[in-house]
């Protein structure tokens, strides 16, 4: 294990010292010196995630596909673009630059008031003795926050206008998870980073939680009819469980997408009455012609049109004027 850590750290340090730090130094950007080192790790982790998805998860999709290849296959390409932009840190970097001053300002103000993150180890010291247990506890807390944010994405019209981009995909695959509007990503990231800081998640833990969580979420969008078994499906979100959340609503199941919200741990859906367990195969997508037209558009066109949708939802007057014309 130590050899593996050494290999990882050596590659990260080499990339940083020979390339990134020299650039930062040259342009007088030493304020970004430490964040720059973390950014290198983020990109490396992104490459690992892409490899796991492209090689590992795709193997199962090819071997045991739920939906066979068809004309909708062309809709998948744009999702791959989303995944690469996200996993290699291009979108996260933009979000980081935008959210960092806000997060800093809030954190500093609150700390000046005397608030300190209530690390769980203070209340339950034995958690600190076990790294895995500590990680799991914070992971569960993080997922709890993500569950409620996800419910918010479905509950508010303006937020749904953004989030509907994620749901408009008719051809769900392991690439679908990253298909989100940048502004939607920004809101969710800002909320989760603040939540993590206030409950006391360490920066190192946050990166691992993010990586493991997003991999599980990529898998839960896979085009396979697989589950972890009766018990497993109640412990961890799998493709069958999450596919129901993406199901196309019908007259008999008008609010089907208001179920199975949990990103990683289904316990939240079970506790809050939003879980549905069945084995029906449903088509996926949205029953809204406007949102459905996201399919077939490229990354930029999707970002622009969905932002327009968001603005109209936020300011209904604009929507009325547009329809009057």
């Amino acid at each position: 294990m130590r050899d593996l850590i050494d290999l990882w750290v050596n590659v990260q340090a080499w990339l940083f010292e020979t390339l990134v730090s020299q650039v930062l130094f040259h342009f007088g950007l030493m304020a970004w010196y430490e964040p720059g080192y973390s950014a290198v790790e983020f990109v490396m982790l992104g490459l690992v995630q892409i490899a796991v998805i492209a090689i590992g998860m795709r193997f199962f999709e090819r071997r045991w596909p739920l939906e066979k290849s068809g004309e909708d296959d062309r809709l998948i390409m744009v999702d791959r673009v989303y995944t690469v932009l996200n996993k290699l840190g291009i979108v996260p970097l933009a979000i980081f630059i935008l959210t960092y001053p806000v997060v800093q300002e809030i954190e500093l103000t609150v700390r000046t008031w005397g608030y300190m993150p209530p690390r769980l180890e203070r209340l339950l010291p034995w958690i600190g003795d076990n790294d895995l247990l500590s990680f799991l506890v914070y992971f569960v807390l993080y997922d709890f926050a993500a569950y409620w944010l996800h419910r918010g994405q479905h509950a508010f019209g303006w937020w749904w206008a953004l989030h509907s981009l994620h749901h408009s995909q008719r051809r769900m695959t392991v690439w679908t998870d990253d298909r989100n509007h940048v502004f939607d990503d920004l809101i969710v990231t800002l909320a989760l980073v603040l939540f993590s800081q206030f409950v006391g998640v360490q920066p190192g833990e946050y990166v691992v939680i993010l990586m493991v969580g997003r991999l599980i979420e990529s898998w839960s969008h896979a085009n396979v009819d697989m589950s972890f078994g009766w018990l497993g499906e109640r412990l961890l979100v799998g493709p069958r469980f999450h596919r129901l959340h993406h199901a196309l609503s019908t007259p008999t199941e008008r609010h089907i997408q208001d179920h199975n919200f949990a990103p990683v741990f289904p316990i939240w859906d079970i506790l809050f009455g939003t879980a549905i367990y069945d084995e029906k195969h449903r088509p996926t997508g949205v029953d809204d012609a406007t949102a459905d037209r996201d399919n077939g558009r490229g990354w930029i066109a999707q970002q622009v049109t969905v932002f327009g949708r968001f603005v109209r939802a936020l300011v209904p007057k604009l929507s009325r004027r547009a329809s009057a014309r």
């Binding site: 130590r2 850590i5 050494d6 750290v9 050596n10 990260q12 340090a13 940083f16 010292e17 730090s21 020299q22 130094f25 007088g28 030493m30 304020a31 010196y33 430490e34 080192y37 800093q104 500093l108 700390r111 000046t112 005397g114 300190m116 993150p117 690390r119 180890e121 600190g128 003795d129 006391g200 360490q202 920066p203 190192g204």
Partner: protein, 334 residues
């Protein structure tokens, strides 16, 4: 694993008193933990939890405890100087990034790097005497010999500020170069050395008014100092260059030796026998050991993530007679 290691440490402490003076503390800043290493076996003996984002640590004036600044929890954690075990927590010390006691032991100063202020406390009881808000990321500090003035580098604004300890008033605040970090007062009590992390040099500054007298090229990312102990030589870590320079300061400072230390070398300390320099390698999650006589890297020990502060645990007898130095560690940005 931690419990097992702790048991091993406890056993070693019981078996012989020599073990007490044989340990080194390393602060793993991104892991909220500190490692206790054995100098003789050059291994990590145990890793224990400590607050959040610990960066620097310092010996108390009475030489009985080591104080770790836990920056994100606004507190100091005190460790027993002999065993490294946790003794007490001093609360309500805001963002204690860099720490220092004045040479007379009466004042305790913290540089709140994130919150942009310098706090001056009465060391006895840690009662706040004054909080001075100042823009520019206050990062490192040094004191004059008479314990009248504390000098603080402002990493973002490229300045060095001097504060009167008794009145907590700003004496001067002058530009010195790009991203100043480590600062040390030379034995003549007239000149300060300031490391410029945004450049490849250090500057010599007049302690009276902050005037820059001269500069000396050392290596990219000149960052922090540690005294060799002979009153003449200082070690300097160059973070971007990945080297440690040995600087002679009797007359005009000059570089008399350099050793390559990969991994963003940062804080340093010297073994009590004066033979080894220990340097944290932030990016490699290791601590390097340099043979001081030959200036060669002889070992590198794995520790936790982003190791920052380093401190040699010594027996009380060894420590009590030693001078109290401002800021036991040389730090970098978080």
């Amino acid at each position: 694993m931690n419990r097992l290691s702790f048991a091993a440490l406890a056993l070693s402490l019981v078996v012989g008193g020599t073990a007490r003076a044989d340990s080194v503390i390393i602060l793993n800043s991104e892991e909220a933990s500190y490692s206790i290493l054995s100098r003789s076996t050059r291994t990590e003996v145990v890793r224990l939890p400590v607050g959040r984002e610990p960066h620097h640590l310092i010996l108390s004036p009475d030489g009985k405890e080591v104080l770790i600044g836990s920056t994100a929890t606004n507190e100091l954690l005190s460790l027993d100087i002999k065993t490294g075990e946790r003794k007490r927590v001093v609360k309500d010390i805001l963002d204690p990034y860099h720490l220092g006691f004045s040479p007379d032991g009466k004042w305790f100063v913290t540089a709140a790097y994130r919150l942009d202020h310098v706090d001056i406390y009465h060391a006895d009881g840690f009662k706040l005497a004054g909080r001075i808000f100042i823009d520019g990321l206050p990062s490192h500090m040094a004191f004059d010999a008479e314990s009248k003035t504390v000098f603080v580098t402002l990493q973002q604004s490229g300045r060095l500020a001097a504060f009167d300890l008794a009145t907590q008033a700003l004496k001067w605040n002058v530009p010195v170069g790009n991203a100043p970090a480590g600062v040390v007062m030379l034995p003549d009590d007239k000149r300060l050395l300031v490391a410029l992390t945004g450049e490849d040099n250090i500057v010599v500054v007049d302690a009276k008014d902050g005037a820059v007298k001269s500069s000396l090229q050392t290596g990219k990312g000149a960052h922090n100092f540690w005294p060799k102990g002979d009153g003449r030589h200082y070690f300097l870590s160059n973070r971007v260059e990945g080297t440690v320079s040995l600087i002679e300061t009797k007359d005009e400072p000059k570089v008399v030796g350099t050793v390559r230390i990969p991994g963003g070398p940062d804080c340093m300390d010297i073994t009590p026998d004066g033979k080894e320099l220990w340097v944290t390698q932030r990016f490699l999650r290791r601590v390097a050991i340099v043979d001081i006589e030959t200036l060669k890297l002889v070992a590198s020990i794995p520790v936790g993530k982003s190791p920052h502060g380093v401190f040699m645990l010594k027996s009380t007898a060894t420590v009590a007679g030693a001078p109290v130095r401002a800021a036991s560690t040389a730090g970098e940005r978080r």
